[in-house]
Amino acid sequence: MTSNSGHKIEVQDLRTFYAGKEVHHGISFHIEPNEIFAIIGPAQSGKTTLLRAINRTLEFTPGSKMTGTIKVDGEDVKKVRDVYGLRRKIGMVAPLPVGLPLTIYDNVAFAPRSSGIKDKKFLDAHVEKCLRQSALWDEVKDRLDSLGTKLSGGQQQRLTIARALSHQPEILCLDEFSIAIDPVTTMRIEDVLKELKKEMTIILVTNLVQQARRLAARTMFLWNGDIIELDTNEVMFSDTPKDKRTYDYVNGIFG
C-alpha cells in the first residue's frame, strides 16, 4: 500500500497491445470507492481489454503487452506479488454466462476452495450468502447438487455473479452482463447491483446506454482506445456534453 490517494482504481497513461497492435492509446482516469462506474462505447473500443488489464488476465493472451500504470488501492498491479490475491479482490462477470461444469454449489465454492478454505460450515453459509446476493437462491436452493451448466441463461448469469462475489471482491466488474438475458432478469440484477454498491466498487461495461444512465454515477465513453469523455451522468446524458460525439452516441445518431 503506497501513496494511497483514496481512489479505488487509478489508471495512468495506459497503453495495451495485442500482437503489436495498440488497443488503448494512453488513457488516464480513476474510479472512486463504492461508486458505480460505467464504461460505454462501440465494439472494439477496448472495454473488455481494460478490465483484463486491471485484473492481469490480459497476460494469458499470447502477444499481449501493457505499459503505463494501473493502481488498485494505490498498489501497482504490475508489481503485485500475489496476483491471485489481486484477482480475488476483483470479481469478474463475462458477457456470456459461464457455468463451470460443476454443481451449483461447487461453482460458488470454487473460489473459496481455491484459496484454501475447507470448512464445510463456512462454505455452506457462504454459498447461500452469495446466491442470495445474486438473487438466485430461491430458485436453486433445493437443487444445489445439480449441474450449473443445466441452468437457464439468465440463471447461469446470476450464478456467474454469485461466483464473482464468492471470493469477497472489493471491486465488481461486469462486462456487458445483460446481453444474454431477458429484460426482467436484467432489472433484477440491476437492483442487486444497487444493493452491492454499499459494499463494493462496481465497474459496469455496457452496450446499453440507458443501463449506464440508470445505474452509474459517472460514465466513461471509450472509443477506439481513447477516452472521448468522462463525466458525471448529469453531464454525459444532458443535452450539452462537452464532446459532440458523446451526445451523438448516447442518442443513437453516431457514425
Binding site: N55, T57, F60, P62, Y84, G85, L86, R87, R88, G91, M92, A94, L96, V98, G99, L100, P101, L102, F110, A111, S114, S115, L147, T149, T160, R163, A164, S166, H167
Partner: protein, 298 residues
C-alpha cells in the same frame, strides 16, 4: 403451384444418387473387417482350446499352446503404456496449458510430429542401441523392459497429440472463469480441465494398446524371444528386467513363416487370440470411458 419441373426432377435424382453412393462407401468400410475377422476365426477355430490358451508351446510350436506368448504380450503392453501414458499426458498438459508459443514449444511440436512418422523398424534399431546396449539392463541382452521402452518411445508422440486435442476441446471460457476468481493454472487444470478431458485422453491411450500388442519388428529386436518356456505357477511369471519373453505378434510371425510341421489352423488361432486380447482390453477401457463420459458436465 408446386408442380414438378424437369429441373426439380433432376435435382431429386442427383440427391438420391449422391446418397446411395456415399452410403455404399460407408458400407464398404465394414466388409473388410468382417472378412478378415471372420476368415481368421473360422480358420483358427479347430485349434482353439483351453489347453491352447494355457499351455507352453512344444515341438517348436507345432504342439502345445501359446500361454507364454499371451503373458509376454500383456507384460510388454502393460510396461510400455505404464511408461508412455504418464509421460505423454504430462507433456501434453504442459504443451497445451502452460507453454507459450516459443522456439522451445516449436521444437517440441516438431519432434512430436516427426517421431510419429518414424517407421517401427527404425524404432527397433534405436531401441537396440539405446535400451539393450547403452542402458544395458540385462548384460547387453534383450529384455522385456528394453522392448517396453522402445514401444513407449514409439507411442509417446501419438499419446501427446491425442491428449493435446482432448485438452484443447475443453472450452477456454472455463479456464478464464477459473483464472478470474484467482485460481492458479494448476487448480484450473486439476479441477476443471482434466476431469472434462479424461475420456478423450483415455481414448488416445486405448488406441495405443492395439498398436503395442501388434508391433513385431521393434520387440523382436529388443526383447522378444522365439521360444521361452514359462513356469506357469508363479504370479509374477516374467522378470521384466532380466527376462526376455514371448509375444503373440512375434509368435505368429514365427509360426506362420519359419516353423515346420505346423497344423494349418495354428497361425489363425494365434491371430484370433491376438485380436481377442486387444478387443477385451479395448472393451474394458471403452466401458470405463462411457462411464466417465456419462459424468461429463456440459
Amino acid at each position: 403451384m408446386f408442380t414438378e419441373t424437369a429441373f426439380i426432377r433432376k435435382k431429386r435424382r442427383n440427391e438420391l444418387m449422391a446418397k446411395c453412393f456415399f452410403g455404399f462407401m460407408a458400407a464398404a468400410m465394414v466388409i473388410p473387417l468382417f472378412l478378415i475377422v471372420g476368415h481368421i476365426v473360422i480358420q483358427g477355430w479347430p485349434a482353439l482350446s483351453w489347453e491352447f490358451l494355457t499351455e507352453n508351446p512344444r515341438s517348436g510350436g507345432a504342439k502345445g499352446g501359446i500361454w507364454a506368448a499371451i503373458v509376454g504380450t500383456i507384460y510388454i503392453v502393460f510396461f510400455s503404456l505404464a511408461i508412455s501414458a504418464p509421460i505423454g499426458v504430462l507433456a501434453a498438459v504442459y504443451l497445451n496449458e502452460y507453454a507459450r508459443e516459443s522456439w522451445f514449444t516449436r521444437v517440441v511440436n516438431l519432434a512430436v510430429i516427426n517421431l510419429a512418422g518414424v517407421p517401427s523398424i527404425v524404432h527397433g534399431l534405436f531401441g537396440v542401441a539405446a535400451f539393450v546396449y547403452f542402458a544395458n539392463f540385462n548384460d547387453a541382452k534383450k529384455s522385456i523392459i528394453a522392448a517396453a521402452l522402445t514401444l513407449a518411445v514409439m507411442t509417446l508422440p501419438v499419446i501427446i497429440t491425442s491428449t493435446k486435442e482432448a485438452l484443447a476441446a475443453v472450452p477456454r471460457q472455463f479456464r478464464e472463469a477459473c483464472w478470474n476468481v484467482g485460481a492458479t493454472r494448476w487448480q484450473t487444470i486439476w479441477r476443471i480441465v482434466l476431469p472434462n478431458s479424461i475420456s478423450g485422453i483415455l481414448t488416445g491411450v486405448i488406441l495405443q494398446v492395439s498398436r503395442t500388442a501388434g508391433e513385431t519388428a521393434p520387440v523382436m529386436l529388443t526383447g522378444v524371444a522365439t521360444y521361452k518356456m514359462l513356469d506357469s505357477t508363479g504370479l509374477f511369471l516374467y522378470n521384466p528386467i532380466k527376462d526376455q519373453c514371448m509375444a503373440l505378434s512375434m509368435h505368429l510371425y514365427y509360426i506362420a513363416t519359419q516353423a515346420i510341421n505346423i497344423p494349418k489352423a495354428t497361425p489363425y488361432a494365434i491371430a484370433t487370440v491376438l485380436i481377442g486380447v486387444v478387443l477385451i482390453v479395448n472393451a474394458a477401457a471403452i466401458t470405463f470411458r462411457v462411464y466417465l463420459r456419462s459424468r461429463k458436465k456440459w
